[in-house]
Symmetry: C2
Subunit: 464 residues, 2 copies
């Protein structure tokens, strides 16, 4: 059995804690039962899968910008397949399945469970996933979907209706008669009265079922070719391309706790602690959640029903019930991510200034984890000044290697090749200055730390 | 006629926009009639004095930490007397009077008006100050105080009661029978019912009257000696030391608009615009004032009766009526000022980090105004790294002078003498690192920019 965890999301609904590089599923805000630690949604679901006794390999389907976050939070416990660009859930699931088929050589008869990484659920949910897996191998259904008991006529979800013959039966797997994508609220009301369930976005099928659909768009024996030809797949959801067209679908119903923690309002309901970070409150604030990721102190006096959140990306103060509208506004506030967790460590942007003639300066504080290294890189539009303030490391500039530590100041003019490796946690302040300060102004080259001689051939790494 | 403007205040009640270096009277938040510009309380009162036709020199009595703010906001339009340390209004007024007597050689017969710089008032207030000045020269009263019609039985103000014989008269100056310092709310109620007025903290007297009181504590023909012997004066208010003891005091009553803008609640009442800085709100917020001095965007959705303010010192979110309690909390949040307006320009602290072994790094963005220069200085506990990102200037390190501009990186190890002068607005990023990063780690020496040869004698400047 193989699980494909879908980790998408544009990261605007929990702004400013979430951003393009740190989607909501990576925020470490959820209480971990029986401990003071916090975990993220993606850490929680992987832990729950393991604790429920499901025997499966996990492959996480992500967008490229999430790669470092996933590696940092889950380490090597999962496989990762990164979409070269965002194209909806159907291409993302095809890519993950082709990875399993072509790269991991999984049999076409193997059971695949696709599930989102962000619903907040309990143990029973994972037991139903076992039932779905059993139905994939034991029943004749091409596709199994999980139905969830709806609590209100939402227009945000799809609906699944079992055929009438099922109603009296007590079978674990029911035949699906109708599969309806996001109806209006009125239609939803009617569907619920007729017994329809929410489509939980959890699907089970045999690997060969999906690779056959995928073959309609692109086919190759080599997985890497799918990455290169990813734009051959249509920009469409799995629900529309596969589920709606499926003639013989089964459903397993889950009646337990299931919640989409997509907004500040729903998320804070599940968080017992009201204050994170450097926050001081009087005893008079009611139903107010405060998240402060900044160094500076925050003082909250006498407020009611608020969510207050501050990160290097910005600050929000919202009445809880209004937090759903954030998406419309956050798009307008969009800028480069100001804090990122990368495979090598973390950085935050601490200052950014642009002058009349378009010259810019961007100042960052960066920390490399011990043993981690940057790629061997050069920039064509900016100079960089590094002032090392803690730790020990090795620096390479244009092939010359040297030791660096506290107090060392290094100037790297545009065009100079450079890389850095940390021996102990290595913290430095970087001042970038130039005319086009974007993350994309970077050329990466291979560097072998074990070889003393690294000739640069003009061969860029494909991705990193 | 001489006006002494008192500019005290510890800067906690409008935290985080105010701090020790930037008291509330320097915040440029007040609308300037007939223009889109904003002005500070101290700028407003100086403008109002001039517009009212009062012919007087103005001396501002300040604490040392406010010197650069005053110079930056008022330029050379006023004289400045800075207390060497904070000791209450009596010593501060003595010092200003001794400055007028010994340094400016003002006659003992000259009329002095002492007034706070922060009440929010109208033209009529300044006309009453003219009446007070007239009473000082024409009447036999030793001291004239301004009384303000009270609007509620406050325990924050002192009260002044005219003697009974005055009641039927229409005289501009009434004789004071009782002068009561901050009573309880209950006593205040009684006082108001008996006809007492608020003490507005505005006093008029002849210069010789006060220097005679001052002589009781310290006397010298040289003003500089008063600075050196400032601790000979008791830590006491002018009201207790002078007004309460005065046997023959007159009062001029002001019945117009007068308001203490000391809290967020009272201040925001006088500010028509609800949003300052990089702020986005939905149309649903009610009676919410937002001040954002940070670079990052702020989003405010559906809030009611709030003040939200963010500066480099911190962030506050407070229900308006609770904003009076801020003082108790802000003390606990106190840290070094993160933004300062100096005589030479401005700086903000953009990052601060401390490691386990007490080693620290502090990163600032600084801008020097054209023509302005830093003092010639050295530090004993920190290195500094300057990366110039805009403008042109001249740098001196250990006597050697050079031109600096964009892209120049200068390392200044501890012990090296250095100064900087801006030709055009000069912006640079400074990374300080060392073991005791405090503003006080500085030794200042004279430097003459017009001489090519500046030998450093070991003679520190007295203050700067």
């Amino acid at each position: 059995m193989q699980i494909i965890l879908l980790s998408g999301g544009s990261g605007t609904r929990l702004w400013p804690l979430s951003n393009d590089a740190r989607s909501k599923q990576f925020l470490k805000l959820l209480p971990k039962e029986g401990s003071d630690e916090k975990e993220s949604m993606v850490q929680r679901v992987v832990r729950q899968i393991n604790e429920s006794g499901i025997k499966a390999d996990i492959t996480v389907a992500i967008s490229l910008s999430q790669k470092d976050s996933i590696t940092s939070q889950l380490g090597n416990r999962v496989d990762i397949v990164a979409e070269p660009s965002r194209r909806g859930t159907f291409p993302a699931i095809c890519l993950a399945c082709e990875y399993l088929a072509k790269e991991k050589h999984i049999s076409p008869e193997e059971t695949i469970i696709v599930m989102p990484c962000d619903p907040f659920t309990e143990e029973g949910y994972f037991q139903k996933i076992k039932s779905m897996a059993k139905a994939v191998s034991d029943s004749s259904f091409e596709l199994i979907v999980m139905g969830v008991t709806p609590t209100y006529p939402s227009s945000k979800y799809g609906y699944v209706m079992a055929s009438n013959e099922n109603f009296s039966s007590n079978k674990e797997v029911l035949e699906v008669e109708k599969f309806i994508e996001k109806p209006s609220e009125k239609e939803a009301e009617k569907l619920i009265s007729e017994g329809a369930l929410w489509n939980a976005g959890v699907f089970g099928f045999k690997l060969g079922f999906l690779t056959k659909v995928s073959d309609n768009y692109f086919s190759s024996p080599i997985f890497h070719e799918y990455l290169k030809n990813y734009d051959k797949f249509p920009w469409i959801s799995f629900d529309c391309e596969v589920a709606e067209k499926c003639r013989h679908m089964g459903m397993v119903e889950y009646r337990g706790f299931w919640k989409d923690l997509g907004t500040w309002n729903t998320l804070t309901d599940e968080i017992p602690s009201h204050v994170y970070g450097n926050v001081l409150t009087d005893g008079l604030s009611k139903n107010t959640h405060v998240f402060n990721e900044l160094n500076m102190p925050m003082l909250v006096l006498g407020t009611e029903n608020l969510v207050i959140a501050a990160s290097h990306d910005g600050i929000i103060v919202t009445e809880k019930s209004k937090s759903e509208t954030i998406k419309d506004y956050a798009r307008r506030l969009k800028s480069r991510p100001m804090y990122e967790e990368r495979r090598w460590g973390t950085y935050k942007v601490i200052d950014s200034v642009k002058f009349d003639d378009n010259f810019q300066a961007l100042t960052k504080q960066l920390t490399l984890n011990p043993g981690a290294s940057l790629s061997y890189q050069r920039h064509s539009c900016r100079d960089e000044v590094w002032t090392f303030i803690d730790g020990e490391g090795e620096l390479v500039v244009n092939g010359k290697r040297r030791h660096v530590g506290r107090g060392d100041v290094i100037v790297i003019p545009k065009g100079d090749l450079h890389t850095l490796r940390a021996i102990t946690p290595l913290t430095f302040i970087e001042v970038q200055h130039g005319e086009n300060l974007i993350e994309e102004d970077i050329e990466r080259f291979p560097y072998d730390w074990d070889k003393s001689d690294n000739n640069v051939e003009d061969k860029k790494e494909i991705q990193n």
